[in-house]
Structure formats: C-alpha cells, structure tokens
C-alpha cells in the first residue's frame, strides 16, 4: 500500500475514532464528571464552614483528580482527531515529497503509529499516574504521549524536508500520482461548505474573545471570592456561589466547544473534498453522505451552543449531529476501503 493510502485510511480512521470517543465522552462522562466536581466543591465549602483544613485539602485532591479525568479525555479526543487531520493533509502533499517510495511509506506508518499512541498515552495519564515513574510530576503515560508527539514532529519535519528536496530538484521523479481534482459536485460542495463553516467558527471565536473571555475570567474570580466570603461571614448562602460557578463552567465549555467544533468540521469538509478520488461509492450515495456530514457539522456546534438556552434537549440533538458526522465518515471510510487502488497501479506504485 502506498504512503498516500496509508495516510488517507489511517487519517480517516483516526478522525472517526476520535469523534466516536468524543461522542461517548459527551454522553457518558462529561455531565457526570461535572456533577461530581460540583458535589466536591460543595463538600469543600461545608468543610470550610467547619474550619476543617485537612478535609478541604482532601476535597481539592479529589477535584484535581476529577478535572484531570475530564481534561485527559478531552485531550484524547482532540489529539486523535487532529492527528487524523494531519494524516489526511500529509496524504495530499505526498506527490510533492521528493523522497523514495520506501521512505515515504515508512514515514506514513510512523505517523499513523504516533497518531494512535499519542491519544492512547494521554488517555492513560489519569489511570497510570506516577506509578513507577522516575520523575516527580511526569508519569509513564505522559512519557508515552510525549514520545509519540516527538515521532509526529520528526515525521512532519522530514516531510517538509522532502518537499524542499522536491522543489530544489533533488528528486523530481515522483512515484505517486497526484490526486486528481475533478470539479465534481461533491468536491465543490465540500470545499465551499467547509470554508463557510470555518469562517462561521472564526467569527464566533472573535465574538467570544471580544465579549466573553475576559468577562468569564473576571466572573470566576468574583464568584470564588463571594463563595469564600459568604462561607466565612455566614451573611449569605455560599451554595448559590457554587451553583453560579457550575453555571459559568458550563457556559464557558459550550461556547468553546461550539467554536472549536465548527472549525474542525469545516477543515474536515475541505480535506474530504480532496480525498474524493479515493472514495469508491456511487454518486447518489456519495451525495447523501456528504449532505449528512455537512448537516451534522452544523447541527452539533449550533446545538452545543444552544445547550445554555434549551438544556439537555439541545445536548441530545448535538449528540445526534455528532453521530451523523461519525456515520458519514465511516461510510466514506468504507468507500476508501472499497477503492480498487487503480490510481496507485496506474502510476506504478507498489501495492
């Protein structure tokens, strides 16, 4: 199998895997984790009222563990998906990489291995902790993730070198065919739809940083300060502040998630427009899956944002949007698997 096909197949598999993980996380872990953190914060407030410093420290150790649990799972989702995106991008630039076919295939395999081990290492951080670690703050799972990240960096640097060699005339003869770009309906709709999604995401990001980011930061400090004062002076109910804190955390999370997901889906649509030649599906089914993908790409971030107004109903619709993206992505992956490899054989690449 050629480097391009390794990267296309591995890339789409990583993206689908990362999204599936994200959906499972959103349904079974996210809200439960938030509830546990809220309960622990309430316990800390009660211990503060009782002036029990040791119990407060124990509460915050548990809150820290809870936040690490959540954070590493979010990072697993993000890093697996992004490694998939980068794999697809590297597949696209393979015709410009002036290295031997063997080297390119080795690099592709290394990238897919690194892209798999990086999120796996991140996922294990919470469970492995510092067991048998020779370092004071970094455990073996972090080391695995860092090594995998280093592999990805090395591969990208070598690919960059390969492109430089190509343009300097070092190895002009390409063994891989360039991806054709037929101006098909699928290509056009994915390209323009993806660009619009990215633009919407950027515009929302600007709005968030201009009107919400600093306000949220100031509000967090104010809420915590009120929480402490209310508990110490007993002049008001500190549990109101705990509820405010939970509300702020939820508001921040959904706004950031809406911003990041709409951009990621936009980039995904642009990337999928290029790999259409690798997708062996009938035109009718290709169109159907693309419409499902773009609809899901819009539904998920819009309804994640609407969770603040509509509550769990919007969360459920957002999860369905995520599922639509995953299913269409798996359908496209099936199309890649069905691809006969005509492009590679036509250009004489090793299968």
């Amino acid at each position: 199998m050629s480097a391009s096909r390794w990267l296309v197949f591995g890339g789409i598999a990583l993206i689908a895997g990362g999204m599936l993980f994200g959906d499972i996380f959103a349904v079974f872990v996210l809200h439960q984790n938030g509830n546990r953190t809220g309960a622990l914060l309430m316990a800390a407030v009660r211990d503060l009222k009782a002036q029990d410093a040791n119990s407060i420290r124990a509460d915050f150790r548990q809150i820290g563990g809870n936040l690490e649990d959540r954070g590493t799972k979010v990072d697993t989702h993000v890093h697996m998906t992004d490694a998939g995106y980068l794999a697809l991008l590297l597949a696209l630039v393979q015709p410009l990489v002036g290295l031997s076919q063997q080297t390119k295939t080795l690099l592709a395999k290394l990238f897919i291995a690194g892209g798999t081990l990086l999120p796996l290492g991140i996922f294990l951080i919470h469970y492995v902790g510092l067991t048998y670690s020779p370092f004071p703050v970094i455990g073996w799972a972090s080391i695995l993730a860092d090594c995998a990240g280093l592999v990805l960096i090395i591969v990208v640097v070598v690919e960059l070198w390969g492109i430089y060699v190509h343009f300097c005339g070092g190895r002009k003869q390409n063994t891989e065919s360039d991806l054709p770009h037929p101006p098909s309906w699928a290509t056009r709709i994915l390209l323009s739809g993806g660009t619009v999604l990215v633009l919407l995401g950027f515009a929302y990001g600007v709005w968030y940083s201009a009107f919400d980011l600093y306000r949220h930061e100031a509000r967090e400090t104010a809420i915590l300060s009120t929480m402490l004062d209310a508990t110490v002076t007993s002049q008001s109910d500190p549990m109101i502040s705990v509820a405010d804190y939970g509300g702020l955390a939820a508001e921040r999370a959904v706004k950031i998630a809406a911003h990041s997901h709409i951009i990621e889906f936009g980039v995904l649509a642009i990337l999928l427009s290029f790999v259409q030649p690798y997708v062996f599906l009938s035109e009718r089914w290709r169109r159907r899956w693309i419409i499902v993908l773009l609809a899901g790409s819009l539904i998920l971030p819009v309804f994640v944002r609407l969770e603040l107004n509509l509550g769990l109903v919007a969360g459920g619709i957002a999860d369905i949007g995520g599922l639509m993206v995953i299913i269409s992505l798996i359908a496209i992956l099936v199309g890649v698997v069905r691809h006969s490899g005509n492009m590679d054989t036509a250009s004489g690449a090793q299968l």
């Binding site: 991008l89 960096i153 492109i163 660009t195 402490l228 980039v267």
Partner: protein, 160 residues
C-alpha cells in the same frame, strides 16, 4: 505550482512543526507544574479562609486567577497554531481554484500565513508582556486571517 500554493503548504507545515514543538515543550516542562500551581493556589485560598486569614486567602485566589489566565492562553497557542497550520495546508491544496489574479492570490496567502503565525504569538505574549502590544498583535493577526479567508471563500465562489 504557484507561489501562493507553495507559501501556504510550506508555511502550514512549518507552523504545524512549531505548534507541535511548542506543545511538546509545554507538556514536558510547563503543563504539570502549572496545573499543580493552579490547584495548590485554590486549595490554599480555601484553607486560609478556613483558618480565617482572609488577606492570605485573597492573595492565594489572585495567584490562582493569574495562573489560570496564563494556562488558558498557553493551551490556546498550541491548539490555534496547529489548527491554523492545518487550514493553511488544506487551502494550499485548493488555492489554484481561488479565482483571482496570481498576484492577488499571493497577497491573500501572505496575509493568511502572517495572520496565522502572529495571532497565537500575540496570545502567547499576553502571558509574558504587559501592555496593549500583545493584544494588538492578536487582533491584527486574527483580522488578517478572517479577512483573507473571506476573500478565499469569495474566490472559491467565483470559480464556480
């Protein structure tokens, strides 16, 4: 291959390397220590309040806010550099379909690359330098990216 495409693909890959290298450095030498500091400061704020030392409690709360301000921006730099790098490479592959003159395409590509590098850099500088310069850099960078991307979308639409 056009100069604009070369610029976007080379620039995007270089920016991806930079973003990943920063992420690796951050994970190895900064993140765990920052998270420990943040958790420690918040715990200290509660413990000092329990001991009824409110000035020390407030100081610990301020330390928590400062550390979190830095943490959020450092993580954002990593994700934005890599995210924008991927966008540059993806656009680079299709940039010949942007229906403008080659010279205009080169300007758009240059704006995209400069904006993508400068915007997260400005965010990073917010954690290191006082004053309006870092925020100005972040605003200029993001404006360049959004403006250039809007023109790219217009270019794609014209090509159809």
């Amino acid at each position: 291959m056009s100069q604009a495409r070369k610029l976007l693909i080379f620039g995007g890959l270089a920016l991806a390397c930079l973003g990943m290298a920063y992420g690796l450095y951050y994970a190895l030498f900064v993140e765990h220590q920052t998270l420990d500091g943040m958790g420690g400061a918040l715990t200290e704020a509660f413990v000092k309040a329990a001991e009824r030392h409110m000035p020390k409690s407030n100081a610990a709360l301020d330390a928590y806010s400062r550390t979190k301000y830095i943490y959020v921006r450092q993580v954002d730099v990593h994700s934005h550099w890599i995210g924008l790098a991927m966008l540059l490479i993806a656009l680079g592959m299709a940039f010949d379909r942007v229906s403008f003159a080659e010279r205009t395409r080169l300007w758009i590509a240059t704006a995209l690359l400069i904006g993508s590098a400068v915007f997260p850099l400005g965010v990073l500088l917010q954690t290191l330098v006082e004053g309006p310069l870092p925020s100005a850099l972040a605003i200029i960078g993001s404006t360049l990216v959004i403006g250039a991307l809007a023109l790219t979308a217009v270019g794609f639409a014209r090509s159809d």
